[in-house]
Amino acid sequence: MSADNLLYEPPGPIARRRNRLISVIGVLLLLGCLMAVGHRLDASGQFDAKRWEIFLHPGTLRFLFDGLMATLLAAVISMVLAFSLALPLALARLSSRLWLRTLAASYIGCFRAVPLLLLILFTVILLPTIGLNWSALGYLIFGMVLHHSAMAAEIIRAGILSLGRGQREAALSIGMGEHQAMVWIVLPQALKLMLPALISAVLAIVQDTSLGYIIPYEELLRRSQQISSFAPQSLLQSAFIVTVMYGFVSALLLALRRWIERRQAYTSRAAIPEQRALSELDTLVSAKSQAS
């Protein structure tokens, strides 16, 4: 990341004074907005102790914590299944056999083009008609795996393609087979390159489990809604606490991603900042969460 290609000269004394003025105005504006929001919240009594006391109950916290665990459980299972399906899909998509390539491409095209919400809704409707009566968790995971395996396959494919032909050709020229070259030369390097994008995909998976809300699967978001139907005065408070819980998990993943990116920045071959920015642009969008 080249945040240092400044779009302005280092300020002189006059400009520094002007910048300070603008900054102060900016801070005042922000504070003003925050105060207005705070006043609004206060006026409707959102800071009253009685709206928060339900969260002092160990039972309530336990209830939310179980919700978080359910969210993580769904996310981890979906992630493992989706990623292990994505690798063969990506390889099939790059295969030299036409039928295999077409098959993988149409799978990926179909499930990437359809909103995850629609997929999950109809998983719930369609699977029982062919005799699969699963729990809500099963339906959620099924829909998530269909969608996110297609997403991850595209990330892996992009990673393999971004490696450049030279690596594979060099492997072939020293007598490795097509298969060996892929397993020993191309994939290890490509996986390393796409690690940040894959972590973003994990983040998307964690956040998308919130769609379990509609099935309904008893995950974190659903639990917070239940608390607010049980204690309607605490609706905003439970939303706030749940946001913090999602934020905590997301922040961990984002920090992991940043750590990996920093480590890779040392070894990255794309040392030219513009090129790095271009590849950042690619990975940014390819990993964006779909329905949520």
Binding site: L6, A113, P115, S210, L221, Y246, P273, E274
Partner: protein, 210 residues
């Protein structure tokens, strides 16, 4: 066939959701991106914390907060409006990231040249950097637009009558799950494919050899 008509109604709602929210997202996202590269620290902090906050929250959580939470504070919007607002606010963070990455693709020599002839921040950004950033940003923006079409399905979770919601209703009425599902899929393809072509066309038109 009234079912086809209902699907067309759903498509219209999805298109409205997408276009309105994407317009909000573009304006807000561009503003945030400008803040992020500006010489004024508070604006930079605000923009980056906004983006972080939006990335940390599931879209559905934000939507439920808007639809159930804001009325408690005396802000009452229709379900459609709150879906548009939430989608716009959420995607603005992504557009900001894309624009910022696009700004970084402009070679540093361009910026140094502009600085050396004494251009101000707004001149550099508006006349040198952004026009060049547009061509590398247009492809990713197209992807974001297609993602926005799909993300608009989130409205169905609170009962906005878009494609997904319509499909669910038709399935309740007819119990023909498979054709309804295929119909909804076709409806989404009907929107995403032309959008993809349009943005690819734009990208080709703007391609500049460097």
């Amino acid at each position: 066939m009234s079912y086809i008509e209902r699907f067309l109604g759903g498509i219209a709602v999805s298109v409205e959701l997408t276009l309105l929210s994407f317009a909000i997202a573009i304006v807000l996202g561009l503003l945030l991106a400008i803040m992020r590269v500006s010489p004024w620290p508070p604006f930079r902090w605000f923009a980056s914390s906004y983006v972080e906050l939006m990335r940390m929250m599931p879209l559905l959580a934000l939507l439920l907060l808007f639809t159930f939470g804001l009325p408690k504070l005396g802000f009452i919007y229709s379900l459609f409006t709150s879906t548009v607002l939430v989608l716009g606010l959420y995607s603005a963070a992504w557009i900001c990231e894309v624009v910022r990455a696009g700004i970084n693709t402009v070679s540093i020599g361009q910026i140094e040249a502009a600085r050396s002839i004494g251009m101000r921040f707004d001149q550099i950004l508006g006349e040198v950097v952004l026009p060049q950033a547009v061509q590398s940003v247009i492809g990713p923006l197209g992807n974001l637009f297609i993602i926005q079409i799909k993300a608009s399905a989130i409205g169905a979770a609170i009962g906005v009558a878009d494609i997904t919601y319509t499909a669910q209703q038709i399935n309740f009425d007819t119990a023909l799950a498979v054709p309804t599902f295929l119909g909804a899929m076709a409806a989404y393809f009907l929107l995403t494919l032309p959008a993809g072509w349009f943005f690819r066309f734009l990208e080709q038109k703007m391609a500049v050899l460097r």
